[in-house]
């Protein structure tokens, strides 16, 4: 029976793409493995390879067609001995009902390389939930805002600092020629050259140490980990060499270095590639730890991190890279490290989170408002030093608190916040602090289990209601 070739997806979240080119003509013989067509999305081009043998019976979607939905039949392959008359009998390979609809924002898959297109051709990713409350004190009134993705905000921050200070350089796996495994370093090689944008071998322990040594000698490295999961290979250098040297040398010698990259869970990459290191690093004296949520904070805080004379762990989030947000158009937008931000005011319950945890917290706050509970929402932005004052001030007002994190509960950041609230605002508390977190298991691969393992807005709503005795 003739077989239909379906429009393939480049990533689990791709819904449509363009059929750029047919490389085989109708009537041509096809062997399994032959490239028959090229498809493209705004992020990448990919070749469609035949998995069946025969002749290309009919092209159903002509080249140049835009926005072809995934799984649309694009051609029919005739098996040996079949001819055009058989075309009508074509069957598609059994279609897949999506196992579960865990749908993180459409995102460049990890390990997905950069397309050659410039930043301007960036994916129109869903905007992060709009933050309304509390104007940012850092931004003068009337400042023009530019909408950009978090990916672009990070790139701009690095480029600006590299223009400003010749000692700043970046190194890591695939940061230069490939333009970054997640496209964050796009264009940096072209602007700054191979001396300052350096592809390393896959040797995290080694290049982290090389970066730290270079920093001890006075340079200002930005070390990109393809993801923070791989920084575990470099843990000793980060903790023992970077964090402790200033102290051990009696203040003579430290290192100004930024370790950055995506942290936390991506989609369906399982236990070894989905872990939140917020708690790990924020336990270490000598390190500063930053984990922003909004595009503006990503930019302003990365610039601050690069300038900081200490080792800074800058935790990004893959799921957020494509999110857009307003970023102030200022020559030098630097946000002080160590200051939380109240992103929504409310008098009934304080919700504290950071990074992608804010996604759940914001959704929950909206839900709660519908039920008459006004949540005050705090984005910590920096995890070390932790802005205890802002949290405590809010709890003194609301008397209730819920923390939200993707990481595990035991010895987590939420546990630390709860302890500080107890120490500084015990008499103001009307209920025990509750923690919403990732479940106490390694991240499973299966779609349904992964969804269960992550925190959810519903869990935040439930916890907030519980502390409000509702």
């Amino acid at each position: 029976m003739p077989i239909q070739v379906l429009m393939p997806a480049l990533s689990p979240t791709m819904e449509k793409g363009n059929l750029a080119k047919w490389l085989k003509k109708e009537g041509e013989t096809i062997k399994s493995g032959d490239v028959i067509a090229e498809i493209e999305t705004d992020k990448a081009t990919m070749e469609v390879e035949a998995t069946d043998e025969g002749t290309l019976g009919k092209i159903l979607i002509p080249e140049g067609t835009a926005d072809v939905a995934v799984n649309t039949p694009i051609a029919t392959i005739l098996a040996d001995g079949e001819n055009a008359a058989d075309l009508a009998k074509a069957t598609a390979p059994a279609k897949q009902e999506k196992a579960a609809e865990y749908a993180p924002p459409a995102e460049t898959r990890a390990e997905a390389p950069a397309s050659k297109s410039g930043g301007g051709k960036e994916k129109k990713a869903p905007a992060a939930p709009q933050i309304v409350a509390e104007p940012d004190p850092e931004v003068p009134e009337g400042t023009e805002m530019v909408t950009m993705t978090i990916r672009e905000a990070l790139r701009d921050a690095m480029a600006e600092e590299m223009r400003r200070d010749a000692d700043v350089f970046i190194m890591g796996e695939e940061v230069a020629e490939y333009q970054g495994a997640y496209k964050v370093t796009q264009g940096l090689l072209q602007e700054f050259g191979a001396r300052r944008v350096i592809d390393t071998p896959i040797t995290e322990h080694g290049f982290a140490g090389v970066g730290i040594g270079a920093a001890m000698a006075g340079l200002k490295p930005i070390v990109e980990f393809m993801t923070f999961n791989f920084a575990m290979q470099a843990m000793d250098q980060i903790i023992n060499s970077a964090a402790k040297t200033l102290y051990m040398s009696g203040g003579q010698m430290g290192c100004s270095i930024v370790f950055r990259g995506p942290n936390g869970a991506a989609a369906r990459v399982a236990a070894q590639h989905s872990q939140d290191y917020s708690a790990w690093y924020s336990q270490i004296p000598g390190l500063k730890v930053i984990a922003p949520f909004s595009a503006a904070d990503y930019k302003g805080l990365l610039k601050a991190a690069i300038r900081d004379p200490n080792p800074v762990i800058f935790l990004e989030n893959e799921v957020l890279y494509g999110h857009t947000g307003p970023v102030p158009k200022l020559d030098d937008y630097v946000i002080p490290i160590g200051k939380a931000r109240v992103v929504r005011s409310g008098g009934h319950v304080t919700i504290v989170s950071w990074s992608n945890g804010m996604t759940y917290a914001l959704k929950a706050a909206e839900e709660l408002a519908k039920e008459g509970i006004e949540a005050e929402l705090i984005d910590l932005r920096t995890l070390r030093p932790l802005d205890t004052d802002t949290v405590v001030a809010s709890v003194k007002k609301t008397g209730r608190a819920v923390t939200v994190e993707e990481g595990w509960q035991q010895n987590g950041v939420g546990a630390e916040i709860a302890a500080r609230i107890m120490e500084h605002a015990f008499d103001y508390l009307d209920a025990p602090v509750l923690r919403v977190s990732g479940k106490d298991v390694p991240m499973p691969y299966a779609a349904n289990l992964e969804k269960l393992a992550l925190p959810s807005a519903a869990e935040v709503v439930e916890a907030a209601k519980a502390v409000c005795y509702r």
Binding site: N71, T203, Q272, Y445, A446
Partner: protein, 340 residues
């Protein structure tokens, strides 16, 4: 690709001289063909299912590298262990793990080898002595060395086949392992699958010493470069290395010169190499075509070859059917297997 064939193993007196590997018997050719075809068709199906959204996350295909695993499998014996990285589907099929269980793991179903909890990169089979399936580049190298340590400790003559890539070969733990393995004369074969690229980085852009067979020199570990596209060369080199290990002489390094046809993982537009480069390898060196052509030259009936292909396709289709219709793991599985 400069290929040195240094293997001097003689099998049934068929050494053809010039260092060329011994010919396979017809039976061996057929075993090789079928096993490699199974991997190829399986991987094509996996790619297709990924394109349809049935497989999530990362999915690293082994297409092009089939001769490495199959050749080594033909050289080892029951009880030898196998361990590798995340490009692991071929190794699992090679160790005769059930294609249904492997594919169902890729789709995250209950019937997968890890009950859907591990996915493409993390799969294991105690029964088949397959120790994973590891997502962290290089991590399997000390582990594989530890498998060999266990063999040595128990005094058996089993060998650990520890596979890793050209990129992984730059991780520090590889050299820590080399040192211990030689120091303690551990029976481990380090099979370096040099497919010329680590993601988008070619070997010459990442490696000071691009002859990976020499990476053990400072530890006194012997090594050789092998034409990893010619399954006979792989098998011959495997025989030699395994004999070395079983005789208690310590570790051995085999650099398999091979090539991956597909992208690093699924959405790799491959701007770091040309289509001509890929096509040339595929056309001139394809490991499966080499066997097929030899069989045809030896007057094997083309229909018989087609029958093998049909049988393999049927196995793969049955696996795909299972993998798509098997149930997802029960929600209660979220909390199982954390401890025992």
């Amino acid at each position: 690709m400069a290929v040195a064939k240094k293997s001097d193993v003689k099998e049934k007196g068929q050494d053809r001289g010039n260092g060329a590997p011994p010919e396979f018997t017809k039976e061996q050719e057929l075993v090789a063909l079928r096993a490699m075809l199974l991997i190829r068709r399986f991987e094509e199906k996996a790619g297709q299912l990924y394109g349809m959204g049935a497989i999530g996350g990362f999915c690293h295909l082994y297409i092009g590298q089939e001769a490495v695993v199959v050749g080594m499998q033909m050289a080892l014996k029951m009880g030898d262990q196998v361990i590798t990285g995340y490009r692991d589907h071929g190794h699992m099929l090679g160790t005769e793990m059930d294609p249904k269980g492997v594919l169902a793991e890729l789709t995250g179903r209950h019937g997968g080898y890890s009950k859907g909890k591990g996915g493409s990169m993390h799969m294991f089979s105690k029964e088949k002595n397959f120790f994973g399936g590891h997502g962290i580049v290089g991590a399997q190298v000390p582990l594989g060395t530890g498998l060999a340590f266990a063999n040595s400790y128990r005094g058996n003559d089993f060998v650990s086949l520890t596979y890793f890539g050209d990129g992984a070969a730059n991780q520090g733990q590889v050299y820590e392992s080399f040192n211990m393995a030689e120091l303690w004369k551990l029976p481990v074969i380090y099979v370096i699958e040099n497919n010329r690229y680590a993601m988008g980085t070619s070997v010459s852009r990442s490696s000071a010493q691009t002859d990976f067979s020499k990476r053990g020199i400072s530890f006194n570990i012997p090594g050789e470069q092998v034409d990893g596209m010619d399954i006979r060369a792989v098998k011959a080199a495997g025989d030699k290395a395994i004999a070395w290990c079983r005789a208690g002489k310590g570790p051995y390094i085999l650099e398999m010169q091979t090539y991956r046809y597909r992208g690093h993982s699924m959405s790799d537009p491959a701007k770091y190499r040309t289509r001509e480069e890929v096509d040339k390898v595929r056309h001139d060196q394809d490991p499966i075509e080499q066997v097929r052509n030899r069989l045809l030259a030896a007057k094997m009936d083309e229909q018989e070859l087609k029958a093998i292909d049909a049988e393999v396709r049927q196995i793969v289709n049955a696996a795909a059917d299972f993998a798509q219709h098997d149930a997802e793991p029960d929600p209660s599985e979220l909390y199982t297997d954390v401890y025992r």
